[in-house]
């Protein structure tokens, strides 16, 4: 077995790392060059994993997983990513509510930092919690999803998946469908896709998309059909079933009839346009089971790319 460390990309013609951030709080601060450095590193991680190389980019480092909100796939993905790079992974006891346990998020992280944890992967129900974490302790913070604000590694894996399928994303059109308002995935994708020169179309019930008219590079569409028309790729979002009551649609049935993705509706998009979904899917609500399992679906690829992207992010931050 080959033991190696994947080299970190440098800016062209220099010895300066192409990645300049201590934390990954969102993707809004990333330049196109940094995005490319991350995705290129992820591709090399993916290849190395396929070959079965034993990577040691994070050898002798400790990565803490602080998941204050339920998550299965993201936590597992980060855990596999960190261990695949030779890191020791520990679960950190973070509670969703800062008041219920008497110790604030800031105090908890400040204490844990003293144990020598270099990188903390934080999932939290409150938008902005990773910013508070970054201000409170000296560890590197990776945002694994904060409230309805950002999910940077999900957006990076989405863009890697799209780049694999479509090539350069500049000038491409991506339709995002569903509950944009409550979606941290949509927000981070809006930043990334527009930075890379893609146009983003948004469609969904008015209460879920209307507020995004001001977002630069995004267009809000009254109908699903208009948003899908000629799109190069389509991204479905999970309908938060628990939010249905106060959340902008009278019923899931009405949502599915109007905004649910079917093969027939997907034919409005560019022929062969891929379909993405951050998961977990509600089949029969935001998309049909046939679409989810069909040839357009890149949902499985997204999950596989998730590990590679998280390996890239952890390595870049630690470099």
């Amino acid at each position: 077995m080959v033991q190696t460390a994947i080299p970190i990309p440098r800016s062209p013609g220099t010895d300066t790392p192409a990645w300049r951030h201590r934390h990954l709080l969102d993707v809004d601060a990333l330049s196109a060059e940094e995005i490319a450095a991350c995705l290129d590193t992820a591709v090399r991680m993916r290849e190395a994993r396929t070959r079965g190389d034993r990577l040691r980019n994070l050898e002798r480092q400790v990565v803490g997983l602080a998941f204050a909100e339920a998550s299965t796939r993201t936590r597992v993905s980060f855990e596999i990513a960190a261990t695949s790079l030779g890191a020791q992974v520990v679960e950190l006891p973070i509670h969703a509510s800062s008041v219920s346990k008497g110790e604030s998020l800031a105090d908890t992280l400040r204490t844990l930092e003293r144990t020598g944890i270099g990188t903390i992967v934080l999932r939290h129900a409150a938008s902005g919690a990773p910013y508070l974490a970054a201000r409170s302790c000296g560890s590197r913070i990776v945002n694994a999803g904060d409230g309805t604000h950002a999910h940077p590694t999900q957006a990076l894996l989405d863009v890697l998946t799209l780049r694999d399928a479509l090539g350069d994303l500049a000038g491409r059109t991506v339709a995002i469908v569903g509950d944009i308002g409550h979606s941290r995935v949509a927000r981070s994708n809006l930043h990334l896709l527009t930075t890379l020169g893609a146009a983003v179309r948004l469609a969904g019930p008015p209460a879920w998309v209307g507020a995004f008219r001001a977002w630069p590079g995004a267009s809000v569409h009254a109908s699903l059909e208009e948003a899908l028309d000629g799109a190069d790729a389509v991204m479905a979002l999970r309908v938060q079933l628990e939010r249905n009551g106060g959340g902008g649609v009278p019923s899931l049935r009405e949502y599915t009839r109007r905004w649910g993705l079917t093969e027939a509706r997907m034919r409005l998009a560019r022929p062969g346009a891929p379909l993405l979904h951050p998961g977990p899917t509600n089949e029969g609500v935001e998309l049909t089971a046939a679409l989810s399992a069909g040839p357009r679906s890149l949902i499985g690829t997204q999950v596989a790319n998730g590990v590679a992207v998280r390996m890239a992010v952890l390595s870049l931050l630690a470099s």
Partner: protein, 459 residues
């Protein structure tokens, strides 16, 4: 040197020489000498020989400020503020009078509790007037014993922190208060629209993924209460009005002869919702349009010190409120001084307690607006001092014979907002670390030196 005094101190004899005296009550603005003796403004010829002479050239002499809305937190939350510390903050900020909000623990809904607060304030650094709770226990259901509270000299009735949610209760209170000449001081926030929110709805909230309450939440209650005031003849005072739409409603009601007044806070005049995203430009410096959508500053974004209720609004709202102060449709600038200890602010944004301290920065933010050309100085003095005093039965005049409530401020000097510099027991403000114009060098409350700094012979 800094001197912190009290309203129980003996009155000073002072001659302030050569200040620019801005005295809107008497329509004067010019360089003059001001003589103070036995708590009143006197003719300089009547000063005793040992009166302290102060060279006030280059300074501004204006009537002392009057705050209609401050949270002094005592009883119940003395770690955040006490009547004594809040009053010292007021004196440092140029105030001679502060109205204390009743959302304490227990709330100020009984005459005996009001009397207790008044006794605590007897030797404070400013006069403290009490606002009584609008409903018993601030529960929104039953009126307190209004007449007995009125006998304690309360300045009005408010469930501030929340709207009087029941229109029936608000109508009953306005009607009961009408003959007393005391206002219902309303915190206008429709509860259903504001529930579960942490900031103002709009482009910034959308960008940050934070739930926000829309401007209509304020307008719905303002319009409801205007209708109730019109029907009952009661006096409605809308406090911390934060939106252009709310101000327009107040303007229409005033024009229609309804008894309605309003105040705005310094932070709603100067700051915008973009501060939650880490932008630190004043409203008048902010560019057109919305945002920011560019990268957030990790040091400043989601800072709990920017959480306040009503939430910071848009640049257009702030500029509309400034225009309202300038044209007089806003009656007063009130601080909504809301102290909190760090542990209630250094938390996730939506978990942060709403409110910021404001007594010590109100005049400075106002002077920043004046310096930016957004507000005439006279309008600022009227809104900070003259009209709020008039609303609670005080006067602010610098004419001979008037009570010597005045402040000397150096409008050209600046000061840095630091924890050390603030007299408040709390320092929860996003202005911390910032350089602000306008250094107060002397505050007088009925001729008593309640604050002095850098004045030889006084401090």
């Amino acid at each position: 040197m800094t001197r912190l005094g009290s309203i129980a101190d003996p009155p000073a004899s002072l001659l302030l020489r050569g200040a620019r005296v801005v005295d809107p009550a008497n329509g004067t603005d010019g360089v003059a000498d001001l003589a103070i003796r036995d708590g009143t403004v006197v003719d300089p010829a009547d000063l005793p020989a040992d009166a302290i002479r102060i060279d006030a050239e280059g300074l501004l002499a204006i009537p002392a400020l009057c705050d209609l809305h401050a949270h002094l937190r005592e009883p119940g939350d003395e770690q955040a503020e006490t009547i004594a510390s809040g009053a010292r903050a007021a004196a440092h900020g140029g105030y001679a009078t502060v109205c204390a909000m009743p959302n304490t623990d227990p709330p100020l809904d009984e005459a005996s509790r009001v009397a207790w607060v008044r006794s605590l304030a007897a030797d404070a650094a400013c006069r403290v007037r009490v606002i009584a709770a609008a409903t018993r226990g601030r529960a929104g259901e039953r009126l307190p014993e209004v007449m007995e509270l009125a006998e304690q000299g309360v300045a009005g009735f408010s469930d501030d922190g929340a709207t009087v949610a029941s229109a029936r209760v608000a109508r009953a209170l306005l009607g009961y208060l009408a003959p007393l000449g005391l206002p219902l001081i309303e915190h206008a926030e429709e509860p259903g629209l504001a529930e579960g929110t942490a900031m103002r709805a709009g482009a910034v909230a959308t960008r940050l993924g934070l739930a926000g309450w829309p401007a209509s939440a304020e307008l719905a209650i303002v319009e409801r209460d205007i209708a109730l005031a019109a029907e009952t003849g009661g006096w409605l005072h809308v406090t911390h009005l934060s939106t252009a739409a709310g101000l327009q409603a107040v303007r229409r009601a005033k024009a229609a002869g309804v008894r309605v007044t309003c105040d705005v806070t310094p932070h709603h005049l100067a700051l915008t919702d973009a501060w939650v995203a880490g932008d630190r430009r004043y409203a008048w410096e902010a560019p057109d349009g919305v945002g920011p959508f560019d990268a957030l500053d990790p040091e400043l974004a989601y800072d709990g010190s920017c959480r306040v209720n009503p939430p910071l609004a848009t640049r257009d709202d702030a500029l509309a409120l400034l225009a309202g102060v300038a044209d007089g449709s806003v009656d007063a600038i009130a601080s909504d001084h809301a102290p909190h200890p760090p542990e209630r602010k250094l938390v996730e944004f939506a978990a942060a307690s709403p409110g910021m301290v404001g007594l010590e920065t109100a005049l400075s933010l106002g002077l920043a607006a004046v310096a930016a050309g957004c507000l005439p100085l006279e309008a600022l003095v009227v809104a900070l001092a003259v009209r709020p005093a008039g609303l609670i039965g005080e006067a602010r005049s610098l004419a001979v014979g008037a009570a010597a409530d005045l402040v000397l401020v150096d409008p050209g000097a600046t000061w840095r907002v630091t924890t050390d510099r603030l007299a408040s027991a709390s320092a929860n403000t996003p202005l911390l670390g910032r350089e602000l114009p306008g250094v107060v060098s002397l505050t007088l409350a009925e001729g008593r030196v309640t604050y002095a700094e850098g004045l030889p012979g006084v401090d």
